[in-house]
C-alpha cells in the first residue's frame, strides 16, 4: 500500500476536503461493445465537512439537473497533481444525504465518457439543430430525380395505342394538307381559260386551308406536349446531405472537433423520406407544383431523426467507433491504424495467461443488409447490392456433424439504396420517335419544340417509383451526380470488403481471432492509468498489440486488475463463402 499518495478533490474549481472514502476509491473502466474509450465509473463519494456543506448549498439552491464539475487528482513522488477523473456530480441520480451525521453520498460521471456522449447525442435531433441554425440550405445538395413506375404491360399497351392514335392523326392531317396543296396547284390557271378572279379565289382557298391545317397541327403539337407531361415523368428535385455533415456539424455543436479516416463519408449522401404530395389540378389532374424534400436532414418519421440513432446507423454501416479524444470526436473504422498508433501504455509483464478465445464472436452466418422500401418498387426490383451474406465454415472436416460453428448475425442498416435511371424505358423509347417527328413538324411551322431531347435529358437521375417514398435513402454521389457505377461504390459487398474485414476470422491472416485474458493483476501507476484511458489499445514489451476490455484501478494501491484480448490466430481451418442476392 502506498502511503505517499496525496489526493486532491475539487468541486466547481474549489478545493475541498477529500471524501471520507477516498482511500477505497476504485475506478472501473469498461470498454463496452468493443469501444475504444472506456466508460469510467467509481464507487460513490461520501462527502463530509466542508465538502458536505458545499454540495448541500448547491442542492438547496436548486442545482439538481445541472452537472457540477468535479475533479479527482492524485500526486506522489512520480507525478504531481495528475487528474485521474474529471467529470461532474449528478445530483439527479442516486443523491442522498444524512443531516444527523452529517454526510452526503454523490455519483460522479466522466466528462466525454461514452455514456455521457451518447446521452448528449440522444438529447439532440436534426430538426432542433436546423431550427437553431446549425443546418441550413447551404448544407444541402440538390439531386434531380424522376418518378417512374416499373414495367406494366397494360399501361404500356394503352400508351402505345395512344401514341399510335396520335401518330395517325398527325399523319392524316399532314397527308391531307399535301393533297390539298396538290389539288390547289392544279386549280391555278395556266393561261388557257379562267380569269384573274378565279385564280385569286383558288390561291386564297389554298391559303385559308393551309392556315386551317396549320392551326390543327399546332393543336396536335399542344396535345403532344400534354401527352408528354402525362406519360413522361417530369424532372424533380430533392434535397440531400453529405453524411459527413450529419456527424461533423453535430460534433461541432457539442463543442468538439471532428476527424475521420472514412473518405466515403464525403460521397455517401443521405436522403430523408418524402411525405410531400404534389399540388395537382383537381380537374385536369395536371401537376401544379412538384414536391421533393425541402431539407436534407432526417424527418421525424426517419430512423436517425435523433442524432444518436444517426451516429449509430453510420457507425454500423462503416463498422466504426466514435470517441471524443482530447476535444475531437474521432469517427473511424474499427481497424483504423489511428487507434493503435495513439496507444501509449506498455504492459511490462510479457506473460499472457490466456483463459479463453473469442470463439463466441464467430458466427456461421452473417448478413449485412440495407433496407428495402415497399413504397419504392425499384429498391426491390434492383436488389443487387442491398445485402451480402458471409458464411464461415470449416475448411476441412471429417463429417458434417463435427462442424461446431453456429449462429446468425445481421447488421441491418435502415437506409434504402437509391436507383439510377440508366436508360429510356419502353414507353419513352416509343415516344422518342414520335416526339422527334413532332419536333420536326413544329419547327416546320416556325415553332420551337424539343420534346425528344427532354426525354434523354433525364438519364442519370435518381429513379423512384412513387414521389412519396416512406424510407430514407443513401446514395453514392460524385460531383453531386449518380455515376453509372454508383451501386458498386456503396453495395454491401463493397461495405464488407472495405470496412468489415477486420472482424473476419479468415481474411487478413485470420485477423478476427483473439485470445482472451481475464483478471490479470498488474502494477499500474497514475500515469499508466491516464494513458490507457485515452485509448484502450496497449502493447506489451514484446510489441504485441492488446485491447483492454475492462480495468479496475485502485490508485491508493497502485494496482489494476485488467481483462484484455490479444490478436492472435488459433486456427487456420476456416473458410468464408459469399452470397450476394440479385
Amino acid at each position: 500500500m502506498r502511503k505517499d499518495i496525496n489526493f486532491q478533490f475539487t468541486i466547481n474549481g474549489v478545493q475541498l476536503n477529500a471524501p471520507r472514502n477516498w482511500q477505497e476509491l476504485e475506478f472501473l473502466a469498461t470498454y463496452d461493445n468493443d469501444s475504444i474509450q472506456p466508460n469510467i465509473s467509481t464507487n460513490e463519494l461520501i462527502l463530509v465537512n466542508e465538502a458536505y456543506n458545499y454540495i448541500m448549498q448547491l442542492f438547496n439552491s436548486g442545482k439538481v439537473f445541472e452537472g457540477i464539475p468535479v475533479k479527482l487528482s492524485y500526486s506522489n513522488s512520480d507525478v504531481n497533481n495528475l487528474t485521474a477523473f474529471e467529470g461532474y456530480i449528478d445530483l439527479s441520480d442516486g443523491f442522498s444525504f444524512d443531516v444527523s451525521k452529517p454526510e452526503a453520498s454523490v455519483k460522479i460521471v466522466k466528462d466525454n465518457g461514452l455514456n455521457s456522449l451518447n446521452d448528449r447525442l440522444s438529447a439532440l435531433d436534426y430538426k432542433y439543430l436546423a431550427n437553431n441554425g446549425v443546418y441550413s440550405d447551404a448544407d444541402y445538395t440538390s439531386l434531380n430525380y424522376v418518378v417512374e413506375k416499373p414495367f406494366n404491360f397494360i399501361e404500356l399497351a394503352v400508351s402505345s395505342l395512344t401514341i399510335y392514335l396520335l401518330s395517325k392523326t398527325i399523319y392524316d392531317e399532314v397527308k391531307d394538307i399535301q393533297d390539298k396543296i396538290a389539288t390547289g396547284t392544279s386549280l391555278v390557271p395556266t393561261g388557257i381559260g379562267g380569269g384573274v378572279a378565279s385564280t385569286i379565289y383558288a390561291i386564297l382557298t389554298i391559303a385559308i386551308r393551309l392556315a386551317y391545317y396549320a392551326l390543327i397541327l399546332v393543336l396536335i403539337i399542344k396535345l403532344a406536349r400534354e401527352l408528354f407531361d402525362y406519360l413522361v415523368p417530369p424532372k424533380r428535385e430533392t434535397k440531400t446531405i453529405k453524411t459527413r455533415l450529419l456527424l461533423e456539424k453535430v460534433a461541432n455543436y457539442l463543442g468538439y472537433g471532428f476527424e475521420t479516416g472514412i473518405t466515403d463519408l464525403d460521397n455517401y449522401y443521405y436522403i430523408p423520406s418524402n411525405a410531400n404530395y404534389d399540388d395537382v389540378d383537381n380537374i385536369t389532374g395536371a401537376f401544379k407544383r412538384l414536391k421533393g424534400t425541402s431539407e436534407g436532414i432526417p424527418s421525424i418519421r426517419d430512423n436517425g431523426y435523433d442524432c444518436l440513432s444517426m451516429f449509430n446507423n453510420l457507425k454500423n454501416l462503416f463498422n466504426a467507433k466514435f470517441q471524443v479524444i482530447e476535444g475531437v470526436l474521432q469517427f473511424r473504422n474499427e481497424d483504423d491504424p489511428y487507434w493503435e498508433n495513439t496507444s501509449v501504455f506498455v504492459k511490462k509483464n510479457p506473460l499472457k495467461r490466456a483463459e479463453g478465445i473469442n470463439s463466441d464472436e464467430l458466427v456461421s452466418n452473417k448478413l449485412l443488409s440495407y433496407a428495402t422500401d415497399l413504397t419504392d418498387d425499384w429498391t426491390i426490383d434492383n436488389y443487387e447490392g442491398t445485402s451480402f451474406q458471409i458464411h464461415t465454415k470449416l475448411k476441412n472436416k471429417t463429417d458434417q456433424t463435427t462442424d461446431l460453428i453456429k449462429g446468425f448475425e445481421e447488421v441491418s442498416i435502415p437506409f434504402a439504396l437509391g436507383n439510377r435511371k440508366n436508360e429510356l424505358n419502353a414507353l419513352e423509347n416509343a415516344l422518342k420517335g414520335l416526339f422527334k417527328t413532332i419536333d420536326s413538324v413544329a419547327n416546320l411551322f416556325g415553332g420551337r419544340s424539343n420534346l425528344a431531347n427532354k426525354l434523354t435529358g433525364k438519364i442519370g437521375f435518381l429513379k423512384v417509383s412513387t414521389n412519396n417514398w416512406a424510407n430514407q435513402k443513401i446514395v453514392y454521389l460524385l460531383n453531386n451526380k449518380l455515376p453509372t457505377n454508383h451501386r458498386d461504390k456503396i453495395s454491401m459487398r463493397y461495405i464488407y470488403n472495405t470496412y468489415y474485414q477486420n472482424s473476419s476470422f479468415v481474411l487478413n491472416n485470420f485477423r478476427g481471432q483473439e485470445y482472451k485474458i481475464t483478471g490479470e493483476e498488474i502494477p499500474m501507476n497514475l500515469k499508466d492509468f491516464d494513458n490507457i484511458l485515452l485509448n484502450g489499445y496497449f502493447k506489451d514489451v514484446n510489441g504485441d498489440t492488446l485491447k483492454a476490455k475492462q480495468i479496475v484501478y485502485k490508485p491508493y494501491n497502485n494496482k489494476a486488475t485488467i481483462d484484455y484480448n490479444w490478436k492472435q490466430p488459433y486456427t487456420t481451418n476456416l473458410i468464408e463463402s459469399y452470397y450476394e442476392p440479385q
Binding site: 397494360i154 399497351a157 394503352v158 395505342l161 399510335y164 419502353a426 417527328t437 416546320l444
Partner: protein, 68 residues
C-alpha cells in the same frame, strides 16, 4: 422530294413503328378479353373510327379490369 414529302414518309415510318410496338405489347397480355378489345380498338383507330375520348374511356376500363 419536298420537305412535306419527307415529312409524310417519316410519319408513315413512325406509324408503322407504332403499330409494331403496340402489337408486340398487346399480344403479351394475359387477359384475353382485354387483349381482344384492344386489338379491335386498334383496327378502329386505323380506320379512323375511334376518337381519343373513346380510347381514354376504354383505357380506364382496361386498367380497372386488369386490377381485379
Amino acid at each position: 422530294m419536298s420537305h412535306n414529302d419527307e415529312l409524310v414518309k417519316e410519319l408513315e415510318r413512325q406509324l408503322k413503328d407504332a403499330e409494331t410496338r403496340f402489337k408486340e405489347y398487346a399480344l403479351k397480355l394475359d387477359n384475353k378479353m382485354i387483349k381482344t378489345d384492344m386489338l379491335d380498338s386498334f383496327e378502329r383507330i386505323k380506320n379512323g373510327e375511334m376518337s381519343i375520348n373513346e380510347l381514354t374511356k376504354k383505357a380506364e376500363k382496361w386498367q380497372l379490369n386488369s386490377d381485379k
